[in-house]
């Protein structure tokens, strides 16, 4: 499939057209291509910028989320004026400014088993810029079921991974990791911290893989997992084999099977509270009320504040040096901003100091705040 270039296109994409590997025919392929980017966040922002600049004719953007101040450190499509607006919509407006000769379709909705297959069918290539396991497995399975190549990128603190899945019978994400991590071991990844430029390095390389698929040039990273460490600037590549039974298991699903899949449950996100966890309502009822110790692990500047006669503050950094302050008969409730630090501290105290009278606030003060 190809689409004729206008006189303006020839000038605009001249630096592509004069490359032997692209040429007029290649730029026409780019113009005819339809790419769907899931998530307009850290990875999606740079990938979208370069796909739009390259002249990809149709770009879809799926994101239900809203721009937050803490996104701006890495999500370079957004400005402070966009805070509170839907990411897909804002991204689409900026991309239209950058290139008004291509079609950009924002989908300001959550990707679900109900809409994924219909959406994927309208595009040639899927780019995964999501930030949680539940959506990543959903995206992988929908790409398999609709037969679309999937350009995968993922980040953690200073490290990134890139691969292309479901490309010409190559491996899928499930061939690499058949099952999500054990429930509770991985919380919301966007809350762990990340060096802002990292998704730029990874997202631009996702755009590059998408362009190579469109242009049918070079070596697409199918069957290879690229690993990158921003601290050492080291890359390494590990080969991935097809695990046919994993692919077959997904492909065996009917559309109805898929629509009834609960990916949140599969990824342990809908887990009930464990015996070590309490929720915000429970904590609220305990403050100033019962004889327990509520320990706020956060730094002084983190908001909202948690106040009460039975609340004390010991920052996470202080804990290793003051472990004896935890040796107490009273029940201890650990509280932090998102639930990650409290979880780490509880496990540390249980495993290394045999303390077993500790519970944590699930979801941290961010969940407390929302229900408050």
């Amino acid at each position: 499939m190809s689409e004729e270039l206008t006189r303006n296109d020839l000038k605009r994409y001249n630096r592509h057209v004069i490359l032997d590997e692209v040429g007029l025919a290649g730029q026409e392929k780019i113009k005819a291509a339809k790419v769907l980017v899931i998530g307009a966040g850290g990875l999606g922002s740079p990938a979208l910028q370069y796909l739009a600049a390259a002249g990809v004719g149709t770009i879809g953007i799926v994101d239900f989320d809203y721009v937050d101040l803490s996104n701006l450190q890495r999500q370079i499509l957004f400005t402070p004026a966009d805070i509170g607006k839907n990411k897909a919509v804002v991204a689409s407006e900026r991309l239209k400014q950058l290139n008004d000769s291509i079609e950009i379709i924002p989908y300001a909705e959550r990707l679900t088993t109900k809409n994924a297959l219909g959406l994927f069918q309208q595009f040639d290539i899927i780019v995964d810029g999501t930030d949680n396991f539940s959506t990543r497995y959903l995206v992988n399975d929908a790409a398999l079921l609709t037969g679309k190549p999937l350009v995968y990128g993922s980040i953690y603190k200073f490290q990134g991974q890139i691969s292309v899945f479901n490309y010409k019978n190559g491996p899928s994400y499930r061939c690499l990791f058949p099952e999500p991590p054990a429930p509770g071991t991985i919380k919301n990844c966007s809350e762990i911290g990340v060096i802002g430029v990292l998704p730029g390095v990874i997202g631009t390389q996702q755009a590059n893989e998408a362009l190579k698929i469109i242009l049918e040039i070079g070596e697409v990273q199918s069957g290879k997992l690229m690993l990158y460490d921003a601290l050492t600037a080291m890359y390494s590549t590990i080969n991935i084999q097809v695990a046919q039974q994993e692919i077959d298991r997904v492909k065996a699903m009917s559309q109805q099977d898929f629509e009834l899949m609960d990916y949140d449950l599969f990824c342990g996100i809908k887990n009930e509270l464990s015996e070590h966890e309490i929720d915000a309502n429970t904590l609220r009822s305990w403050i100033d009320a019962i004889d327990i110790r509520i320990i706020d692990l956060r730094e002084e500047w983190e908001e909202p504040a948690l106040e009460g006669t039975n609340v004390e503050r010991i920052t996470m950094n202080a804990i290793l040096h003051q472990i004896n302050r935890f040796i107490t008969e009273k029940k201890v409730v650990l509280v932090c901003q998102t639930g990650i630090r409290s979880n780490q501290v509880r496990i540390l105290l249980e495993q290394e100091h045999q303390l077993n009278n500790i519970v944590e606030l699930k979801g941290g003060m961010e969940s407390y705040d929302k229900k408050g």
Partner: protein, 78 residues
Amino acid sequence: MTYSIYYFGKITEHTNCNYERLNCELSTVKGMKEALLKKYPTLRNETFKIAVNKNFIDEEILIANDSEIAVLPPFAGG
């Protein structure tokens, strides 16, 4: 045997290093996993995959001396 082991992502929070040389008996991937869990007990809650010389190999294959081992957790950030 001496193996070069590279740890990635969240795994390094358990090992406190991203690279080490490990001297141990000739091992399979499965044996290596057990050795790592013994050395770093908190790893038992983590999901990870072990690659040997840039390939994921069968759990029962013996790992040659001087092999390069990568311990890879999944990560989902974006």
